[in-house]
């Protein structure tokens, strides 16, 4: 009896000391219930492990090594995913290509998010002339078909940016070009979302309270309004990683994207259309990876949207 009592006392003490539920715990609880999002997150992690961990087994030089004697080899023990039109190992190229594709997805998303937030925040917070000007520019960019903008910019910038070395690796200048043009042609929707959030949030009483405390405008924008609009930004940013990866794939497929020998999942498809039936391993493996990454990012995005939605039941 005494033992039970002390057990109960322990439990009560523990419950009393347990910190109240934080926003982070609430978020994780909701995200966890979204099974497809969890599945997407796991696949995404596996893909990252595949393309980062794979470089322990193959060198980049091997991935870029051509041997015309071995061109268009079907999958074998030597080359598990076969070889491409100039005899490069496809497995090694999907590993290094994955690194570049994911890198392009993430950095293009960062460019998009930075431009989108700055334009949207200035527009929504200050209003007036700044708002009118920025929104007209945004609309102007929105009515030009993205593919047209992409191709013109890709053509214009091609070869103008030198190769750069980062973390001991050399990146083709064309990667930077792709990141910039994808980022700079896709921020408009995010800017509109951020503007709408700022327009409504700036009228809230806690913003008035912050101003009454003497908080400067920049600090109000960054520390008070932005954290309140983080949910739609995170969701939109996640989905735009997937969009950037597909965009890169189709520009590269058209031959205007990342230039060989640097591999991406997109430019591995370039030229594969001549061998759709005769050498399907050329497009199956990179194509499958693109589908997987885009699908899993979209699932994660959906999960984030549900988990971060303030209107969802707080459970």
């Amino acid at each position: 009896m005494a033992a039970i009592n002390s057990e109960v006392a322990d439990f009560l003490a523990e419950a009393a000391e347990a910190p109240p539920i934080t926003l982070r715990e609430l978020f994780w609880r909701r995200f966890r219930r979204h099974k497809m999002a969890l599945f997407g997150a796991v696949v995404l992690i596996l893909l990252v492990v595949y393309s980062v961990g794979g470089s322990l087994f193959f060198t980049e030089a091997y991935a870029n090594h051509t041997d015309t004697n071995l061109r268009l080899q079907p999958p074998s023990r030597e080359h598990p995913c076969g070889t491409d039109t100039v005899g490069r190992d496809i497995l090694a190229r999907t590993i290094y290509g994955g690194q570049i594709s994911l890198l392009i997805g993430i950095t293009a998303m960062l460019v998009e998010v930075i431009v989108g937030i700055i334009v949207g925040a200035v527009s929504g917070f200050y209003g007036g002339l700044a708002d009118s000007l920025l929104m007209r520019v945004t609309e102007a960019l929105l009515i030009i078909p993205q593919i047209f903008l992409l191709l013109v910019m890709a053509k214009f910038f091609a070869g103008r940016i030198p190769n750069l070395t980062l973390l001991g690796r050399e990146f083709s200048g064309s990667v930077v070009v792709i990141v910039l043009i994808i980022g700079l042609t896709s921020w408009m929707y995010l800017a509109r979302i951020v503007r709408a959030e700022f327009l409504s949030l700036k009228e809230r009483e806690f913003i008035l309270a912050a101003r009454a405390t003497g908080t400067p405008n920049l600090q109000i924008i960054i520390e008070h309004i932005l954290p309140n609009s983080i949910a739609p930004i995170v969701v939109s940013a996640t989905l735009s990683i997937a969009a950037a990866i597909t965009t890169e794939a189709y520009i590269s497929f058209l031959g205007l994207g990342v230039q060989a020998p640097t591999a991406t999942w997109g430019n591995m498809l370039e030229g594969a259309y001549n061998y759709v039936e005769t050498a399907p391993w050329l497009w199956i493996f990179p194509g499958l990876l693109i589908v997987l990454v885009v699908l899993s990012i979209n699932f994660v995005g959906d999960g984030l949207r549900d988990a971060l939605d303030p209107r969802a039941l707080a459970r």
Binding site: F206, L208, A209, T213, G214, T215, P216, Q219
Partner: protein, 328 residues
């Protein structure tokens, strides 16, 4: 005591599609260092617009401070640059808002918000600011303060949030505290607690307080002087006891009659003021209260009376002497 805040002929207008809304119409008042002033009036009479204009926090446009001076220790706040004004807000003049439910940012911790002024104005680092925030929360009577700094606003009850709001306003030891209906959104027992807290802090810290309310009962033991506002005008100004014992403006009189009292007999109906305040888009040429006034005369409908001294430290804007019911 020297004058702390001297508002002269403050006029605030809002441009709307329908025309100009005359929210505050040339009001003048002052408050001494360490003094206390109550501003009373019903909703929409310009109380909040008045103090938000003093803080230069009304949205411009559509709002416009059309005329007047706001002298704070001799310096006209209306002429300061936005940066200079930021240095005044929160440090010299702090505000407590009506609804503690909406005046806290829901995604930032209470501690983060209380320490904001300390970091902005006093340049404290996080540790110093947190230390001070704990002292402030303890001062306003929040137990277990160090723990509660990490809480989010939704984890605080309404009364505790208003206490935290007061702690936040007091963080930089302002010389003037403006409380804009700080008890209106709270239930009655919590109201009483907040009022007691405010009185205690007033005596202990010696800062000047402007307390805005539409409830005359709230400010009885709180302030020394009262101004009564009606449709953007000051209609009566007096020492608080005179307002209760000898109100001289028909509006103040009607307001006092409309307070429910437990010592009155049960069957009696509560007195109300018939009609509505005038449309601030189209102010009548005469006294704005005339259409609802029990003492109205011919002159009231044509000329708007200005504030005049009628007794020691007692001013009213009225043509009528309510004691006799005839013209003064």
């Amino acid at each position: 005591m020297p004058v702390l805040l001297d508002v002269r002929n403050l006029t605030v207008e809002f441009e709307t599609l329908e025309g100009t809304v005359h929210a505050v119409n040339g009001i003048s008042y002052s408050i001494d260092e360490g003094g206390t002033l109550g501003i009373v009036g019903e909703s929409g009479c310009g109380k909040s617009v008045n103090v938000l204009s003093v803080m230069r926090l009304i949205p411009q446009p559509p709002g416009k401070i059309a005329a007047g001076e706001v002298l704070y220790r001799g310096r006209d706040l209306l002429k300061l640059s936005e940066e200079e004004m930021e240095a005044v807000r929160g440090k010299e003049i702090a505000m407590v808002f009506q609804d503690p439910m909406t005046a806290f940012n829901p995604v930032l911790t209470i501690g983060r918000q209380i320490t904001e002024g300390l970091r902005v104005h006093l340049g404290m680092d996080k540790a110093q600011a947190n230390q001070r925030a704990v002292e402030l929360l303890e001062m306003v009577g929040i137990p277990n303060a160090a723990q509660r700094l990490k809480d989010y606003p939704h984890q605080f009850s309404g009364g505790m949030r208003q206490r935290a709001m007061i702690a936040m306003a007091l963080s930089c030891a302002p010389s003037l505290l403006i409380a804009d209906e700080p008890t209106t959104a709270l239930d009655v027992t919590i109201q009483a607690q907040i009022i007691d807290l405010a009185k205690e802090l007033r005596d202990r810290l010696g800062m000047a307080i402007i307390w805005i309310t539409h409830d005359l009962g709230v400010i009885a033991g709180m302030v020394e002087r009262v101004i009564v506002m009606y449709s953007g005008f000051i209609v009566e100004r007096a020492v608080v006891d005179d307002i209760y014992e000898h109100p001289l403006h028909p509006y103040t009189l009607a307001l006092l009659r409309s307070i429910p009292r437990v010592d009155r007999s049960g069957g009696e109906k509560l007195a109300t003021i018939a009609g509505m305040p005038p449309d601030l888009l189209r102010l009548p040429p005469g006294c704005p209260f005339a259409p609802r006034c029990a003492y109205v005369m011919e002159r009231c409908l044509q000329e708007n009376p200005s504030l005049e001294v009628v007794a020691e430290e007692h001013e009213i804007a009225c043509w009528v002497d309510v004691r006799t019911g005839r013209a003064r």
